[in-house]
Amino acid sequence: MTERANKATALAVIWLILLTMPYWLPYVGGYTELGSRILVMAMAAMALNFLLGFTGVLSFGHAAYFGLGAYGAGMTIKYLAPSTGLGILVGVVVGTLAAAIIGALIARLRGVYFAMVTIAFGQTFYFITFRWNEVTGGDDGLTGWQRQPIDLGFTTVDILANDKAFYYFVLIFFALAAAGMALILRSPFGRTLLAIRENERRARFLGIPVERHIWMSFVVSCFFVSLAGALYALLNNFTDPRALRWDQSGNFVIMAVLGGMRSFWGPLIGAAIFVALQDYVSSHTENWMSIIGLVFVLVVLFFPRGILGIKRRRKAA
């Protein structure tokens, strides 16, 4: 089989699995909400990987924009108007705007320093939601609101009571996000990002304004991360400061690395494994932190290229 046919088959399998997930998940010990959570986390991990794997820039603070998306959506529905669509829109706008401002401050930084500054900035928003009790609910989280049914004019889809309907609602956004990111990565602009990842000096001396492109990549990445965050709040009908704390950022990174950060779909696989494991472990033992921590250590020591990375290496050998 040619590589092209292989890719088409893999793509068909991925979408078949995603499209049927709510129907077989219960038979393997899952539940529909878990499926939705995997989709949301996968979207966030893929968005992070847009920056990490395809621009070569290490952000350890993406939870901030995820959380801003979540709070933007939740607070809009709670305080402004009971509309799911408006909530998502506001969440995405808030998250992307914050990323555009902070991205402009840090696009000049590189490597470890960039990572450290993104972590620190991420915490800023954590403390804001944590401290601003009256509005955000503080440590207890933002409660007293729900996602609203979608009015399509001719019919109303009840994504609130029907969790399968909500899964497919999320899946539509996931498909749009995946298509959007794939389109950008295949464009001339996407190739300039690869160029920056591969060799920043060469990229600069081909005439690419490197800082500006890193900033744009950061904003695109955060756009999709805040979309994921908004959907995450809708999924739980709730959000709390932990959604934007540093450990959440670390989780996104490990999902991308676990699945394989040089591959477009790697983070989806990483997210599926990580979310399922987290769900299982946290309901079966009190010491879930040790186990998750061990996953981090083992991945770094033994699977640094991730699951899809191993496959690629075999092919090369």
Partner: protein, 249 residues
């Protein structure tokens, strides 16, 4: 109008003066070689011209436009391109992808979210042209990181050419190459200069190459201009022989 004019450029790193009051004028269509012993400041001088470093003092003009403080990417937009002493390429991409990126940049596609099929085939045809020119057609889909030094060097030069420069800066294009590869590259540079009238400034260690190619030669020693002139003048210059050619052997 001159193409490139450097006026008394200096570059200091702390107390070390790497380039000291160096001036140079390059006319359109000229091939200029910059030579000098190790540590003479040749690469630093190149870095000043291409914008990798900003000079401590002095000015640099391209087409009489002051580019002294212009960032590298903007200089490239004004028609400059360069290669590096240690080959700078995109190792985990194929040769074809390595070339596609500068071809698309030169065509002004940098920010486009997609290309029309006409644009795509134009890009592909241009890429094929450079693959053929560099003798890389057979290996086009292999990762550059896996190829020989000579092929990597050829890829880098083709990438620079794909930018459609008016001034090409080559930093030791034959460094680390075998005789056959050196010959191929020399022939390529000669043809770019003679047939396509491209203006070129090159740093080179191999004197056969320099005297074969250059219209004019500038000799740097300890950061200063030691001599400048035609190959004949340089070959007959006593100071150059003493300071450079004498100990080059």
């Amino acid at each position: 109008m001159t193409l490139l004019r450097v006026e008394g450029a200096s570059c200091k790193f702390g107390s070390l003066v790497a380039v000291d009051q160096v001036s140079m004028t390059v006319q359109p269509g000229e091939l200029r070689a910059v030579i000098g012993p190790n540590g003479a400041g040749k690469t630093t001088f190149f870095n000043l011209i291409s914008g990798y470093i900003t000079p401590t003092s002095g000015k640099i003009f391209l087409d009489d436009r002051d580019i002294t403080r212009m960032p590298p990417h903007a200089r490239i937009a004004h028609g400059m391109a360069r290669t590096f002493q240690i080959t700078e390429i995109f190792p985990e991409l194929s040769i074809r992808e390595n070339l596609r990126i500068p071809v698309e940049l030169a065509a002004g596609h940098r920010l486009k979210p997609w290309l029309s099929s006409a644009e795509k085939s134009a890009v592909a045809a241009t890429v094929d042209g450079f693959l053929a020119m560099g003798g890389l057609g057979a290996k086009a889909d292999r990762l550059v990181g896996e190829l020989s030094h000579g092929d990597q060097r050829a890829t880098e030069i083709m990438m620079a050419l794909a930018l459609k420069p008016r001034l090409l800066l080559l930093d030791e294009p034959t460094a680390g190459m075998g005789d056959q590869e050196t010959y191929d590259i020399t022939r390529l540079i000669r043809s770019l200069h003679k047939d396509q009238k491209l203006s070129i400034v090159l740093i080179e260690h191999d004197m056969r190459v320099v005297f074969h190619l250059a219209d004019r030669i500038m000799v740097l020693a300890e950061g200063r201009t030691l001599a400048e002139g035609t190959p004949q003048e340089i070959a007959g210059n006593a100071a150059v022989q003493a300071a450079y050619l004498g100990n080059a052997a």
